[in-house]
């Protein structure tokens, strides 16, 4: 089972990649680990005439501490994120999320930039990226721009990136003290993809009152999004069981759920509320230390 024929180009710099994208336009696709793209090319759901390999570009992978934020290169693999000490210490939610993407072989090849740019509705990272309030950096012919996570995911396999742009890095603001996080996922048993996935980040003040809370939902809907009603219901409250339950019940407010052979719309909504309760409960427990 092979992809349709294509021409292969290897970009050695971001500028070369952007020039190739400009040259071949809609006929071209960027490839990194290829674990989202190659499967759909083999199924002939995608048949780009030109494949631009960006994996040999220097400086696009790796994780660095920039003071008030952690910066993750787009080519960083899921496995590297799962094992990285900086991520595990400062952004455990991201390591936790990376560890449940696909399987070990997939995590060795797949990249965070590729997964985010591909924007599969059932991908894991979008929930964490939303809950961590990340900023995604895109470089195109007009230079660099930042896209906030909340503006990035638009629809099935559709992001705010233009066809001329390359996602280069993900910037995540560091979390304040007394912050806890958690990712909960109901995985499809065959594929490992999220039927529903919920990431929660909760910051408590000295009195145990919720000072900040962000909840990201993936899998349930075509484009991952924040659970705004849950967040506002919990803000300023004592994070006890009743308050968490009440807030979690609002997680699916305004969602247009997906329905497919894996899960009905009703089931997805119910599971999403349950996962939200679990994610918030675990995040609060961790915030308390």
């Amino acid at each position: 089972m092979n992809p349709a024929t294509f021409a292969y180009h290897r970009a050695d710099s971001v500028d070369t990649a952007i020039a190739l994208l400009a040259q071949y336009g809609e006929e071209s696709k960027l490839i990194a680990g290829g674990h989202s793209l190659l499967p759909i090319m083999k199924l002939r759901l995608a048949a780009p005439a030109h494949l631009i390999d960006i994996t040999r570009i220097d400086g696009l992978d790796g994780i660095r501490d920039e003071g008030d934020r952690l910066v993750i290169g787009a080519l960083t693999t899921h496995h590297a994120i799962e094992r990285d000490d900086l991520v595990r210490t400062l952004m455990p939610l991201l390591a936790e999320t990376a560890s449940v993407v696909g399987d070990r072989q997939v995590r060795n090849r797949g990249t965070i930039g590729g997964a985010l740019a591909h924007a599969d509705a059932a991908a894991d990272y979008p929930a964490a990226i939303l809950a961590l309030n990340a900023e995604l950096i895109a470089v195109g012919p007009e230079g660099e721009r930042g896209i906030s996570a909340g503006d990035f995911f638009l629809d099935f396999l559709t992001t705010a990136l233009t066809p001329a742009e390359l996602l280069t890095e993900i910037r995540i603001p560091k979390l304040p003290p007394r912050t806890g996080s958690n990712y909960q996922k109901l995985a499809n048993q065959a594929s490992g993809y999220a039927v529903a996935g919920v990431a929660a980040v909760v910051t408590l003040d000295d009195g145990g009152v919720v000072a900040d809370v962000r909840v990201g939902i993936t899998g349930t809907v075509a484009a991952a999004r924040r659970a705004a009603a849950t967040e506002s219901a919990l803000m300023g409250k004592q994070a006890d069981e009743a308050a968490i339950q009440q807030a979690a019940d609002l997680a699916t407010e305004g969602l247009e759920p997906l329905a497919d052979l894996h899960a009905s719309a009703e089931y997805r909504l119910r599971v999403t509320r349950g996962l939200t309760r679990r994610a918030l409960t675990a995040a609060v427990a961790r915030a308390r230390g």
Binding site: M1, N2, P3, A4, T5, F6, A7, Y8, R10, I31, G34, H35, L38, P39, K42, L51, D53, T55, H79, G102, D103, R104, Q105, V106, N108, R109, A190, S191, G192
Partner: protein, 171 residues
């Protein structure tokens, strides 16, 4: 349009001109005759095509040959000198870690990569590490036991053993 590549396979540099859409598993099996990497699901689920890329397990059905240009691949054939078994292979033999054998090359390579990174994994870590390798004979218990036995062998400094060495099997 074919693309020139140089891929080090089991320690030998292989130069070839390949179609960009050629999958690594096709390069290994069809061009090099290394049929240890199996073609199973072809959708990056089953792990029968698992090989090592610079020591890390990958699925060669979801990797293009051109993507591994100038990199090093190890297949099951390259684990131990001809006529001998790697300690992990030996442990699979002793512990009955295979039935039909289709998943075995991938399972063994996943075990080798795991034990290189973590010489003393617990059962949960072993099962997590072989998540991407499906055994349709459902012989997972013996596979886990094999990997545990392999960990002990490697910790004791085991070397490759002759394939015909009859000393170890217990049955």
């Amino acid at each position: 349009m074919r693309v020139p590549v140089t891929v080090t396979v089991n320690g030998t540099a292989q130069r070839a001109e390949v179609e960009p859409r050629q999958l690594l598993v096709q390069f290994l099996r069809d061009d090099l005759g290394l049929t240890g990497a199996h073609i199973g699901c072809e959708t990056s689920q089953c792990g029968a095509c698992t090989v090592l890329l610079d020591g890390a397990v990958i699925k060669s059905c979801t990797t293009l040959t051109v993507q591994v240009d100038e990199q090093a691949i190890t297949t099951i054939e390259g684990l131990a000198p001809r006529g001998t078994m790697h300690p992990v292979q030996h442990a699979f033999w002793e512990e009955h870690g295979l039935q039909c054998g289709y998943c075995t090359p991938g399972m063994v390579l996943s075990a080798v990569a795991l034990l290189a990174e973590d010489p003393h994994p617990d059962e949960g870590e072993i099962r997590h590490a072989i998540e991407g390798n499906l055994c349709r004979c459902t012989g997972y218990h013996n596979i886990v036991r094999s990997i545990q036995a392999a960990a002990e062998k490697l910790a004791a400094g085991a070397a490759p053993t002759p394939v015909n060495g009859r000393s170890s099997p217990t049955t």
